[in-house]
């Protein structure tokens, strides 16, 4: 929970572009994000916001046309003698880092698992590739990994297609944990699953995290899930981080207009029915981003000053209850307690959408 102490993974001024004939796409633009030991950081963003680019870029898993154009990624694991910059690592160092230190759970377990190998062989493969153990030890380890994620040992001989979607995702988690990594990056690990299974798996992830002590970077488009799961949340939009704060602060005192909009975008199941507004419009084209704040075209609070705004994250200021210096926002104009601007002008501009949204919730 605390943002104090040494981060295990420290991403600084990290930028990635995708080269394309029509111009560079700035998928990650000077991103700063730290992950502390044992912490769950949620990275929330829409598709195309650059959240996966950021996470894969941090492990240097991107291929051309993606190009890392700047920044540093400092990894300070317990097993390393000194912190190292992942962006400066040689291939053999990278090989030792990946999986052993930083593991990834991918979204689509069916595609990430090898369809012609059974569960045991895939687990043993990973163990042999990264740990100096005998064959028998590897087999025993594979079995105990399944215990860890609550799959009966009888399933060791099953092939991926014989498992349910939830079990496949559990196998993926078991594989990621095979080498006792310090950081686990989870890229929408439960998006393809039903809510009941999703909940089961999330509860299990939290339990494993508490037992084994790894840190999680959890990528999802579902902010409502992160509010419950994450210690801290980073909100990404158009390749930039717009706000970082604890889950509680993001929920109670969202500072950035985009975060505010997101929080009013999903229907809640419990409590009184809230007014839902949604966010009209769509994200900008990253080939030719508008000057200043990328959210400006969709922002209710926007002014002319926003076209030349400095997008660096600054501490959310002037709110009595928010004493956390680590709650930061990219918007210097809007604070958590800024009243929403009059809807009338915007509604007329946006056509009937806003009216319909109001009708829907009335």
């Amino acid at each position: 929970m605390s943002a104090a102490g040494e981060p295990v993974l420290d991403i600084r001024d990290f930028s990635v572009v995708y080269r394309s004939p029509g111009g560079d796409v700035r998928a990650a633009d000077s991103v700063n994000l730290a992950l502390h030991p044992g912490e769950v950081v949620g990275l929330a963003g829409e598709s195309g916001s650059g959240k996966s680019t950021l996470a894969y870029g941090a492990c240097r898993l991107l291929r051309p046309p993606a190009l890392i154009t700047g920044g540093s990624i400092r990894y300070a694991g317990r097993r390393l003698s000194a912190p190292a910059d992942i962006l400066q690592m040689r291939p053999d160092e990278l090989k030792r880092l990946r999986w052993r230190e930083i593991a990834i759970v991918f979204q689509s377990a069916m595609n990430a698992l090898n369809p012609v190998l059974n569960v045991r062989d895939q687990l043993v493969d990973v163990i042999h590739a990264h740990l100096p153990v005998s064959r028998d030890e590897a087999h025993e380890k594979a079995a105990s990994l399944l215990d860890l994620v609550g799959i009966p040992r009888a399933r060791l001989r099953s092939y991926p297609h014989e498992l349910s979607g939830g079990m496949r995702q559990r196998v993926m988690i078991a594989m990621a944990l095979a080498t006792d990594p310090e950081v686990v990056i989870m890229d929408e690990p439960t998006t393809a699953l039903d809510v009941v299974v999703q909940r089961d798996i999330l509860a299990q992830i939290v339990e494993l995290k508490e037992t084994l002590g790894f840190a999680i970077l959890f990528i999802t488009h579902d902010l409502s899930l992160l509010l419950e799961l994450a210690d801290r949340i980073a909100v990404m939009y158009a390749g930039q981080l717009l706000e970082i704060g604890t889950a509680g602060e993001i929920h109670r005192e969202p500072a950035h207009p985009y975060t505010k909009g997101l929080l009013h975008s999903f229907p809640s199941l419990r409590g009184p029915r809230r007014d839902l507004a949604g966010i009209p419009g769509s994200p900008p084209d990253l080939k030719s981003p508008p000057p200043g704040c990328p959210f400006l075209p969709r922002c209710d609070y926007g002014t002319d000053a926003c076209t030349s705004v400095d997008m660096s994250l600054a501490t959310v200021s002037g709110v009595s209850t928010s004493a956390d210096p680590y709650h930061v926002t990219a918007c210097p104009f809007v604070r958590p307690d800024t009243p929403a601007p009059a809807k009338a002008a915007k509604a007329a501009e946006a056509g009937t959408d806003a009216r319909a949204a109001e009708e829907l919730t009335s």
């Binding site: 349910s164 979607g165 809510v195 089961d200 999330l202 939290v206 809640s268 199941l269």
Partner: protein
């Protein structure tokens, strides 16, 4: 809400729209079942004995996990699958799909919107082609100029404006939300009375979903559509639907007014669904402390538990299941005037809701 008696009174083919809140259902399914043969004598009972009524201007949400049979219900209603047993009525008339003409007539009244707007639009055709075709098919005798005008009107209805800018575009030139708007416009081109929307917003980003749902709601009001909203997201059903039907294993296990059902679920499965949904207002939740969920799946994981051959379909995962549940299949029983649930243990599952239990008049 719906009774079979009411439907019988509406003979004749006069399609004059009835008032939204009362009157006969625009579409009705009675004891609808669909079995799929899986080979080796195995049969998958995808839909069991489903009854539902769609009224013009009303939204019914069909909520369930993947594999619960909710999409099969939509395909049966749309006439894409033949039911194994049961009846579908459109404006009080039993649906007849025996001929090409009858099938087309059914299509012009009942339209489907699919989940994935990338897969449901043809990548080699423009937006206007997608809209002209249904107009020509279902509104025969229109001149070229009239069709073009209609395309423009449709694009404006789904707020793809200026229409001229969109009509010549190909699907890959549109965003996910814009593509789904084209799907809506295509469904409206047939001037249907019933719209079956199968997970219409699940593929879209969170910030766009709400806008699309309000568009759908707006269209429902403007055209007085009878709307079936199929979703796995029970929270959106709470905000969007008038009535919610919860499906499990092909059976409707609970039905009731949206707000009431989501706030006080009666069936143990609905309770599990509700307690599994992410709850942003529940910081420091059961999830964070890692203590698990209130109603557990009783050790059995979904998918492994399977659907039992006898008794209640949910029994293998239900914490309340007893021998009676494992032996006898529960029918929908009335819980309160507007609500019913298929559960033998309602006295415990929904103690405060249950009045005297008596079988309902409709399936």
């Amino acid at each position: 809400m719906s009774t079979m008696k009411g439907a019988g009174e509406v003979g004749g083919a006069q399609v004059q729209p009835a008032p939204a809140d009362d009157g006969a259902p625009a579409m009705e399914a009675v004891a609808l079942s669909k079995d799929f043969r899986l080979g080796r004598g195995n049969i998958l009972r995808a839909v069991r004995d489903v009854g539902l009524s769609l009224y013009r201007g009303k939204v019914i949400a069909l909520v369930g996990e993947s594999g619960s049979g909710k999409s099969t219900v939509a395909r049966l209603l749309a006439g894409q699958e033949q039911p194994t047993s049961g009846t579908i009525r459109l404006d009080g008339q039993p649906v007849d799909l025996s001929g090409h003409r009858a099938f087309r007539r059914h299509k012009s009244e009942v339209q489907l919107v699919f989940q994935d707007p990338f897969a449901s639009l043809n990548p080699v055709h423009t937006v206007s082609y997608h809209l002209e075709r249904p107009i020509r098919l279902h509104q025969a005798g229109k001149s070229k100029a009239e069709v073009a005008k209609e395309v423009e009107a449709l694009l404006e209805q789904v707020r793809l404006t200026p229409a001229g800018q969109f009509s010549g575009k190909y699907p890959h030139e549109l965003s996910g939300g814009q593509r789904q708007r084209v799907s809506f416009a295509r469904a409206l081109a047939a001037e249907p009375s019933v719209l079956l929307a199968d997970e219409p917003v699940s593929m879209l980003d969170v910030s766009i979903r709400l806008e699309m749902l309000s568009l759908l709601d707006d269209l429902r009001k403007r055209f007085r559509l009878a709307l079936l909203y199929i979703t796995h997201d029970i929270a959106s059903a709470r905000y969007f639907a008038d009535e919610v039907l919860v499906m499990y294993g092909g059976q409707i296990v609970e039905r009731g007014p949206a707000e009431e059902l989501t706030q006080r679920p009666a069936h143990p499965y609905t309770q599990l669904l509700v307690s599994s949904a992410p709850d942003p207002d529940n910081l420091g939740s059961t999830l964070r402390s890692g203590t698990g969920i209130k109603i557990t799946s009783n050790g059995a994981r979904p998918g492994e538990a399977g659907i039992p051959a006898a008794g209640c379909l949910f029994a293998p995962r239900c914490p309340l299941a007893d021998d009676h549940c494992r032996a006898e299949y529960p029918q929908l029983l009335q819980v309160s005037p507007a609500r019913s649930a298929a559960c033998w243990r309602l006295d415990i599952a929904a103690g405060e809701l249950t009045g005297p239990q008596e079988p309902q008049t409709h399936p």
